[in-house]
């Protein structure tokens, strides 16, 4: 049994929703909790921090159950969404606050504040007041203050949500760098899948108070185990099984039936970048692997995205999104998707063959 890291199992119910989660974060790892708003990701964080208490469960942090410990005894630091920098204290006082609580001598505190400010690239900011700082600077100070308490676990509650897009990208790289330098086990809540993909070692997808899937970014994106995870983590196309074309285009000699019809809501799912467009109906599809073919798809829109085109299509009354490198040249096109790139779901759950 892995003693190090965070192992938690918690149950809590509220007026409008119930939370029942269980997951593990390895020591020194950065894990992201992601999910739509109201899925319980912030509640999970507050439960781990001890700000609210679960009805039952256990939280093992580095081998010790901390479920009955008070917030201030847990050695878990948290960076809040609004950063919660104390307005009556300077930057240095804010960062020194947790050290002062531990009765660290003043000289040591000053040195430590300097070291932490350097870590978050804010040298010389000691004297400033929180209200004189920009959003990004506040975020870094909040991070430095959290690190100053020498936590065994760092919790970040949507730390970048209040910042603009460009700063977000920069700061998430910074957070990753600081994480690698300090090696503190970190749990990071976000609702932005791009942020989760770029920063996390492990992603925990939450749905309605439960863990939907845990895995690396690639696993989650390419091998989602439910329709919810599939469509929440990136764009995708969903088609009912009944509409799967009868004429499955294959290399000669291969079976025609790939999908077995099942009872229930049976759907197939594929990503837009896996759709190939053949805009000259006369030409064959440039595809040699087993694939599905969608004939006579109608182009209804085409958005230029910089490095690709996002093409909206209509096939048998069903919308399909495709990413193409070139703008389609005709209004009626032929589409193909490789069998290997498709996921099959029954009632929202993955059908394992």
């Amino acid at each position: 049994m892995a003693d190090k890291g965070l192992i938690c199992t918690m149950k809590a119910s509220y007026a409008d929703f119930a939370l029942d989660t269980s997951f593990t974060v390895k020591e020194g790892e950065l894990a992201c909790i992601i999910g739509p708003s109201g899925c319980g990701k912030s509640t999970t964080l507050q439960l781990i921090a001890g700000l609210i208490t679960p009805e039952e469960g256990s939280i093992f942090l580095n081998g010790k159950d901390i479920i009955n410990e008070s917030v201030h005894e847990r050695h878990i630091a948290m960076v809040f969404q609004d950063y919660a920098l104390f307005p009556h204290m300077s930057v240095a006082q804010n960062i020194a606050y947790p050290m002062k609580l531990r009765h660290m001598p003043k000289i040591q505190r000053t040195a430590e504040v300097k070291r932490l400010l350097a870590l978050v690239s804010l040298d010389g900011y000691q004297k400033r007041k929180p209200q004189e700082l920009s959003g990004g600077e506040r975020q870094r100070v909040a991070l430095a203050r959290a690190l100053a308490s020498q936590p065994q676990l760092l919790l970040l509650d949507e730390p970048l949500s209040a910042l603009d897009a460009k700063l977000r990208k920069h700061l998430r790289t910074e957070i990753r760098r600081i994480h690698e330098e300090t090696g503190i086990t970190t749990l990071y809540v976000t609702h932005d899948q791009e942020e989760a993909f770029s920063i996390a070692d492990t992603i925990i997808v939450m749905q309605e108070g439960r863990v939907g899937q845990i895995g690396s970014g690639e696993e989650i994106y390419h091998k989602p185990n439910s329709l919810f995870v599939a469509s929440f983590m990136g764009e995708g196309n969903t088609l009912p099984y009944s509409l799967i074309p009868r004429n499955l285009a294959t290399q000669p000699g291969m079976t025609k039936e790939v999908f077995k019809p099942l009872e229930g809501e049976h759907t197939i799912f594929f990503r837009p970048e896996h759709v190939t467009i053949q805009d000259d109906v006369q030409l064959p599809l440039p595809e040699f692997f087993p694939h599905l073919e969608f004939k006579n798809a109608q182009v209804v829109g085409c958005e230029f995205q910089g490095d690709h085109f996002r093409v909206s299509l209509l096939w048998e009354g069903h919308p399909i999104i495709a990413h193409a490198l070139d703008r389609p040249r005709s209004a009626i096109v032929r589409l193909s998707v490789r069998i290997g790139k498709m996921r099959e779901f029954l009632d929202g759950q993955l059908v394992r063959n």
Partner: protein, 564 residues
């Protein structure tokens, strides 16, 4: 999602308000119990007869109707006078705007006895306004003769209360963003149409809330009615309770009427709370002011702004300045002309032997300062600990908030009456009497201090406390290291408020101790009663000085809070 501090701290946060709540409960309920027992207990034992008699008598109804009538009329005039001023203050920048705005907060701290005195000195037959008018228009009779009449009551209430409406409404107006108005203009509405259909409805909650507050003040008005009304034909519930208890010595009747008054005030307070909630719900309020005040464009506008500022200045400052000026005047002989003199101050500070009530002026001053300091020092911690629990959302905290505001349902006269009954049954010495005065003042001050602290406390994000906890501070250390420093401004303001309230308190003090206990306002009341206006003015000037200091300190504390 519930966001609250963890279960293991519930004990701590539950224990915090307990001492304050118990103190308030005792201070409030014990005198009330004494009052009620006098209402129900007659010589024959427990009976409803007195209550029934009081509640159904035509006399009670007449008093109630008059009380409501004068309050309604005073409120109406206050709102009418205040609205143009609120418009000017909120929408235009002109010289002296900030000064006027600051002046409008004066009535929040000014004691009613000063209003009475200022009114007499300024509007009286021999007052400054009449003298000025007589000089300008060379009249030989004072043109304004309104003292000791119904008009005087209404005018004094208006003078006292219109700045309150002006302050509350203009502050709300200032913070209302102009986007809706702009949208209306782009949709083709004319300026007046926009004002009528957009601005006015958005403004209404603040007007209703301010008007309700003024109505409550006028309903509970005591000193103004007692002195300026000048007779039993203009008696309100409050004054009648006082008269029954202290002049007619009909304690039972006073107690029964108190019960009736408590019921009426409760209804008014429920309405006030409703208007406050409505105000809080209205989305128009924007904490960062987006309204850019512009200069009055037209000459008429400029003239109007100037004229209105002048009138405001005259109405608010005139009486106060008159008091100070008059305090330095004394006539050398009985009928001689008045000239500059330190006579009254010399008497006040016992440098010269004081005659009549002036003899005990110094004692009254030291008494008042001592009582007010005690009240301020004790009230603030009680209110703070109550606020720690009330600031949270939930049933228990709103129940506690209602409880904290409970003393507001009971007017100062009734609190005074309760403590008077206690002192009757204890029959202690003078020191007991003073203790009772301090306690009575505390009961009156706690809701106000609570009202000062609570909004600041509620503004504090919960994440401050939560992050302090996650950083390793226990709840108690968080309270001292984070919560109290952040509330410093509000605590100072609250303390100052309690001090000023106690310094100027006359209603409960007078009801509690007619002659045995003297405070500054009580002596002022007696001096006015014996027509020694200059002596009263000297004491009044001291009171003005104290209130000004309080006012300045609380403004400074406010400025400090805005810095964050």
């Amino acid at each position: 999602m519930t966001k609250q501090v963890g279960g293991e701290y519930k004990g701590f946060y539950k224990a915090m308000p307990a001492p304050g709540a118990i103190v308030l409960l005792v201070l409030f309920l014990v005198p009330l119990f004494f009052t009620l027992s006098s209402a129900f207990l007659t010589e024959e034992g427990f009976s409803f007869s007195r209550i029934r008699q009081t509640f159904t008598s035509a006399y009670t109804v007449r008093i109630l109707l008059f009380t409501l009538y004068q309050a309604a009329l005073s409120t109406l005039f206050s709102v009418l006078v205040a609205l143009p001023g609120a418009y000017l203050l909120a929408n235009y920048s002109f010289r002296g705007r900030r000064f006027i705005k600051a002046l409008t907060t004066v009535p929040f701290v000014i004691p009613s006895i000063l209003v009475v005195l200022g009114f007499v000195i300024f509007f009286g037959n021999n007052g400054f306004l009449n003298r000025l008018l007589m000089k300008i228009f060379s009249l030989d009779k004072p043109p304004i003769q309104i003292l000791y009449s119904f008009k005087a009551i209404i005018l004094a209430h208006t003078f006292f209360n219109f700045p309150i409406v002006m302050n509350l409404v203009s502050t709300y107006w200032e913070h209302m963003d102009t986007h809706c108005e702009m949208a209306a203009w782009t949709l083709g509405a004319k300026k007046w149409e926009t004002f009528r259909s957009i601005t006015l409805p958005r403004l209404l909650p603040s007007v209703i809330s301010a008007a309700t507050l003024v109505f409550l003040f006028c309903y509970n008005s005591f000193a103004i009615i007692l002195v300026l009304g000048g007779g039993p034909q203009y008696t309100t519930m409050e004054v009648e309770i006082y008269r029954l208890a202290r002049t007619s010595m009909d304690i039972g009747g006073a107690a029964a009427l108190s019960l009736f008054s408590i019921l009426v005030t409760s209804v008014l307070l429920v309405w006030y709370n409703k208007s406050q909630k409505m105000l809080a719900r209205s989305e128009a309020y924007n904490t960062s002011s987006t309204r850019l005040p512009k200069k009055p464009a037209t000459l008429t506008g400029k003239l109007l702004a100037f004229f209105y500022s002048l009138v405001t200045l005259l109405f608010i400052l005139g009486p106060l300045v008159s008091i100070v000026v008059r305090s330095f005047m004394a006539s050398s002989t009985r009928s001689g002309t008045e000239s500059f003199s330190f006579k009254w101050y010399a008497q006040l500070f016992a440098l010269e032997r004081g005659t009549g009530h002036m003899g005990s002026a110094l004692e009254a001053l030291t008494n008042s300062l001592l009582i007010a300091s005690l009240v301020a020092i004790v009230t603030v911690p009680i209110a703070l600990t109550l606020a720690t629990a009330i600031r949270k959302k939930g049933f228990a905290s709103s129940a506690l908030e209602l409880f904290g505001m409970l003393p507001m349902t009971v007017s100062s006269v009734i609190i005074g009456l309760g403590y008077f009954l206690i002192s009757n049954s204890i029959r202690g010495g003078v020191s007991v009497g003073y203790t009772l005065v301090v306690l009575a003042h505390m009961v009156i001050a706690i809701p106000f201090v609570l009202r000062t602290i609570l909004p600041e406390y509620r503004k504090m994000p919960l994440s401050y406390i939560q992050s302090s906890l996650t950083l390793g501070a226990s709840p108690l250390r968080t309270f001292f290291l984070i919560e109290i420093p952040l509330l410093k401004g509000a605590l100072i303001t609250g303390g100052m408020f309690a001090f000023a309230l106690s310094m100027g308190e006359i209603t409960a003090t007078l009801t509690l101790a007619n002659s045995a206990i003297i405070t500054l306002p009580v002596i002022m009341y007696r001096l006015i009663g014996s027509y020694n206006f200059q002596g009263a003015c000297a004491l009044g000037s001291i009171l003005i000085l104290v209130c000004s200091i309080v006012f300045l300190v609380s403004e400074l504390a406010k400025g400090e809070n805005n810095g964050r």
